[in-house]
Symmetry: C2
Subunit: 337 residues, 2 copies
């Protein structure tokens, strides 16, 4: 039951060439005729050709999502499935599909977004994470294409974004360790090209400052958001310093940090306390169970999609942002010194 232009033309009582012109959005076709043709496309028992319809209605009922790393890595870290779960729930309730593009690097990421926008494949885009050098945000803003960002952009003017209070969250984690008597506190995060890493470093520094603890740059390391990344960062720190506690801004990295400590002959938490970020399911089952900052990853996804749908329903929606609260989950990876 493949649909032809001719079928639609018959139903709408117009010439086939008129249907073609409607599909191509020819400005010389009257609004009334367009509506009649679309109606014919939607009649019961007839499966509308979504491509032709979206060409004309300019709606795809699809949300674009760009995975900011290689496909292989993105789904390894439970952060992304969990964000996607939040976005999916909202999309499903509003009858939107999700179009997902994975990108191996920044250039591919940009190309994926351009393809979605210029190819009119999606009605709006949710960007995950923002880089300090991000060219996508100014580009999307200039194109006036609807989008939201998970992660506050460096330049957030005119942008709708959803994030935690990252400075506050990191300050909370660091203060928790300080209250447990720690002074030699290391800080391990992802690359400082991500705004979130910069903000969390600031929160760490702020907590130290408030407690008159000097900042020691050898106690700070950045690496990839992976188990190996955590391992390598911790090893670099241990070769120079002996922290009694570590703030690690990603639970998966935390597992690598624990492994590095063990390889170095240290026990967690007896010799080194550790607080993670994200509260991924694995963190409760880790050995020791991780004390961690729950950033409400699912909610970040939900709010980013809800915000995008608001924009889609009202093109004049003003730039807005939502701060999703964090909470500290106490388990067994920190002890009093």
């Amino acid at each position: 039951m493949n649909v032809t232009i001719k079928d639609v033309a018959q139903r709408a009582h117009v010439a086939p060439s008129t249907v073609s012109r409607v599909i191509a959005d020819n400005p010389r076709i009257s609004k009334e005729t367009k509506e009649r043709v679309f109606k014919a496309m939607e009649e019961p028992g007839y499966y509308p050709n979504a491509i032709a319809r979206s060409l004309a209605s300019k709606m795809t009922y699809t949300i674009g999502l760009i995975m900011p790393r290689s496909a292989e890595d993105a789904f390894s870290n439970p952060f992304f499935p969990e964000v996607m779960r939040g976005i999916s729930v909202v999309a499903h309730n509003e009858k939107y599909d999700l179009l997902i593009s994975t990108s191996g690097n920044e250039e591919e990421e940009k190309q994926a977004v351009i393809n979605m926008v210029k190819g009119r494949k999606v009605d709006g885009i949710v960007l995950l994470c923002s880089r300090t050098t991000d060219e996508l945000i100014p580009w999307l803003r200039e194109e006036k294409f609807p989008f939201t960002v998970i992660g506050k952009p460096l330049d957030s003017k005119g942008v709708c974004w959803v994030d935690n209070d990252n400075i506050g969250a990191s300050r909370l984690a660091t203060n928790y360790l300080i209250k447990h008597g720690h002074k030699e506190i290391a800080f391990i995060s992802g690359s400082l090209e991500f705004v979130v890493s910069l903000d969390r470093l600031d929160g760490y520094k702020l907590a130290l400052e408030e407690n008159n603890i000097p900042f020691v740059k050898e106690l700070v390391a950045q690496d990839e958001f992976s188990e190996d990344g955590g391992y390598n960062a911790m090893m670099r720190i241990l070769k120079q310093k002996k922290p009694t506690a570590v703030v690690v801004t990603d639970d998966i990295m935390s597992f690598g940090v624990i492994r590095a400590a063990i390889d170095y002959g240290l026990r967690v938490p007896q010799d080194v306390s550790l607080i993670g970020f994200n509260n991924i399911p694995l963190s409760a089952y880790a050995n020791p169970p991780l004390t961690t900052i729950d950033i409400s990853t699912f909610e970040l996804g939900v709010k980013s999609a809800e915000l995008l749908l608001k924009i889609l329903k009202n093109k004049d929606y003003m730039a807005d942002h939502i701060i999703v609260p964090v909470k500290l989950i106490e388990r067994k990876s920190c002890i009093k010194r």
Copy 2:
């Protein structure tokens, strides 16, 4: 730089109405003219309108993926992100996007597939899991729409599918427990509406039979693929029988089974040994670390996407299937009796 029909017409040296007819795939336009118009759409510096192009070329360079449960549940169980990771890696290498539809029930699942197919939103579909009552497979086969299935369908005639040897895998797990001296072995799986659950039940029965252990139906329970599902199934069994070991065909369910055992005053593995399925990352960190069957979830995703791309490149590709091998991962949740 929004693209108009007029721009394309100028580049292709044809009338704008000809471009409209090409977009609408009018049979009266010659192949040469069509090619000239498409070429004009693809000239450097020009972003092709993917919708118009796909209307004519009939290619979307998109793979459809239907999540067979509510969006909320699908991403909670690490099986799905991991399958998706496999599919994404192949899609990314071949420059395909992924269109994901989540469905709350079987009816929504069917509607999602029909929308993708009839709306020409995707070039092919990967179906996850097959139900014994599946109407989708006969429908897709009749439509001659390219698709692959992860999970062997009950009626696999003319279908390309990827799966483990589920009977063999479950037999392997059960035999492992028998070799450890267990005879009262419970079997907990997902609903028997899924072919995979039926096959695994068969493998369990086969192992019992080979070892002259009678099949006891009170030792078998099915429930949802979730922690709570595992908990409830184990509780139902414990109210009637005292197994010394359990085969649980999903690691997430295993966590619920462990919780039920503990609530019942039993220790794992001292009182009850347990072998899981899937080897999700969490299983290594569980308490006790789970002995489990690694079904190579990532590979299932990779192979399903590779098989789909083969079909897309060769419409005459014959029905085919790929068996992805499993392996038993020994950890600490089983002991000798």
